[in-house]
């Protein structure tokens, strides 16, 4: 995810087409960016933030000639539209707030403010790259056994960020450094980010990966084939409760039962100190069709409802450690206090 050279378009990989097709698309309207985020063409909490900031900068190109007050009004309107494309990931609003503040803090006309937006979108992307590297460095102080054998969920690699990812970053960095790594990836129903994206990324990187049905994860842990569970996060509350892809909580419960550590890797920007605990995190409900249809085939009888939360909450008590670019955080999580330092 990045702004094109002239800042007139946001270039993305359409993740919906992987692994069958690798297609890059240039988005040059606000509607296209909103749709790409809400339809999960772009997904992964950090990547959504990078995409939104780039999309906001792109969308203000048409307003460069506007007077300052009109530019700011349009900027706020566009930011609000992007912010509501998905409700759970806090990085989305964090990146937009950062971009809006950068523009409004710039003296001068629309042209100057738009230049500030482009600079800030690129800075957010650069920071994301540095964030991935820092998370990998910090997480690898926890993953000392050889080989590294982890179970992961959903996709938290390079597709989900600008850099090497969040939960996959330590795996990719360790492999690149010559350490032995084995990854088990849940397929991650309903949208199969594990099978389609994580398996594709790890295979391209040369990391051994095996995919399993989400429901088989507890049975896998019982075989002692993995030494840690490592996942990303879409929002972390001040008390350490974690919102992440639905199915994460089941893995945390099973990890506790088997005495396997459960690590959450996420950028510091994923921590929302304004949210006291998991109960306060809004959980996006996805459409019924994600469970009711496989491609064109109907697998759920018409009229039968589906329960389709996109995310679930893992209480802090099940989290062995939260690894951010700022360090390793353990219970009792006082993330609000840490944020003030």
């Amino acid at each position: 995810v990045r702004l094109t050279g002239d800042g007139a378009a946001v270039r993305i990989i359409d993740q919906r087409l992987l692994p069958t097709e690798f297609v890059e698309v240039d988005l040059d309207t606000l509607d296209e960016v909103v749709d790409a985020i809400s339809s999960l063409a772009v997904r992964g909490a950090p990547a959504i933030g990078v995409c939104a900031a780039a999309g906001l900068a792109m969308s203000m190109l048409a307003h460069e000639a506007a007077p300052r007050h009109a530019f700011i009004a349009a900027l706020r309107t566009n930011a609000e539209r992007l912010a509501t494309a998905r409700p759970t990931a806090v990085n989305l609003r964090w990146a937009l707030d950062r971009a809006v503040h950068a523009a409004e803090g710039t003296t001068g006309d629309g042209r100057a403010m738009r230049a500030a937006l482009v600079r800030e979108a690129r800075a957010i992307r650069d920071d994301d790259l540095a964030m991935s590297a820092a998370i990998a460095r910090n997480a690898l102080t926890l993953l000392v056994a050889e080989p590294i054998r982890v179970l992961t969920h959903c996709n938290t690699g390079a597709l989900a960020t600008a850099g090497a990812g969040t939960a996959l970053a330590p795996v990719l960095v360790a492999h690149a450094a010559g350490r032995r790594v084995e990854v088990f990836a849940t397929e991650t129903r309903p949208l199969l980010q594990g099978a389609r994206l994580t398996a594709w990324e790890l295979q391209r990187a040369g990391v051994p990966v095996t995919v399993l049905a989400d429901g088989a994860s507890a049975a896998l842990m019982r075989t002692r084939a993995v030494d840690a569970v490592i996942v990303g996060a879409d929002r972390i509350a001040a008390n350490g409760d974690v919102a992440n892809k639905v199915g994460t909580y089941a893995l945390a419960v099973a990890a506790l039962h088997h005495g396997i550590p459960f690590y959450v890797c996420a950028p510091w920007s994923t921590i929302d100190v304004a949210t006291p605990d998991g109960n306060a995190i809004p959980i996006e409900m996805r459409g019924r069709d994600e469970l009711a249809k496989l491609g064109m085939t109907r697998v759920l009888p018409d009229g039968v409802p589906a329960w389709t939360p996109a995310f679930d909450i893992t209480p802090a008590s099940l989290v062995s450690a939260i690894v951010t670019d700022r360090g390793i955080h353990r219970a009792p999580f006082a993330l609000g206090a840490a944020a003030r330092t």
Copy 2:
């Protein structure tokens, strides 16, 4: 699943086509019956037993004119082929042994022995009907809260047996008796027996049912939307360890974590006293394509392996009760001793 009137064919519903198409098929060769079982056109441990006994009786029609020793040799060969169609469900071999013993215990020629096989296949089916009713009666002594709110996995209803099912039997019987029932059904990856079959059966019966991704089950339990988890079994060891559809163990772990009772409903014939514990139960591995493809669409990159056990083992320590047609069995499970009484 039943023998046709003349005993010349086994009539089944092809469960692979549900819920899109409801198709009954008459199988009139041994190959077709073996293929129906191994491809899961017929599935559900009790239904496999009924189907195998019917298939064996059907297959011996061509041998009616054979002398007794030749008939018995062909009978044993055919029974062995059917027994190896799937390795985990013990009802398959139990039903075949029962049929073979009935034939061999009959004096007379091939015609007499074949008549005994037809009678025994029908008796196994009748017993299965009575088994479902007894399981429902026994399980309902445990499900006393109103409404009955359960989470179930895979398909354990009328499609899986000759009667109302195993784990779904109490739900169907209670609904028919006017009690309020709410069922949550996991979709059950990879073959979606929950979405395709359980939802279809319960909708036809008028029982409210909601489908969810397997990985969402723990999050559902956390909402306190269900009061019990109720599943079937493919084989139960003498110590109470349970082999059932992969994903069952994860539900048992999550149920324990949430203080929700975990009930296994199965015919007494599912208990294999010759198997001391779950480690001795062979676990069928399914083909990679069940995870790698959705219909015609490839979702797993070529070359990435999948871990595809059809079943997992839930240790007896996680089982609140095993409900059979003989009663309610609780820890410490001394099922071998019970079998000798």
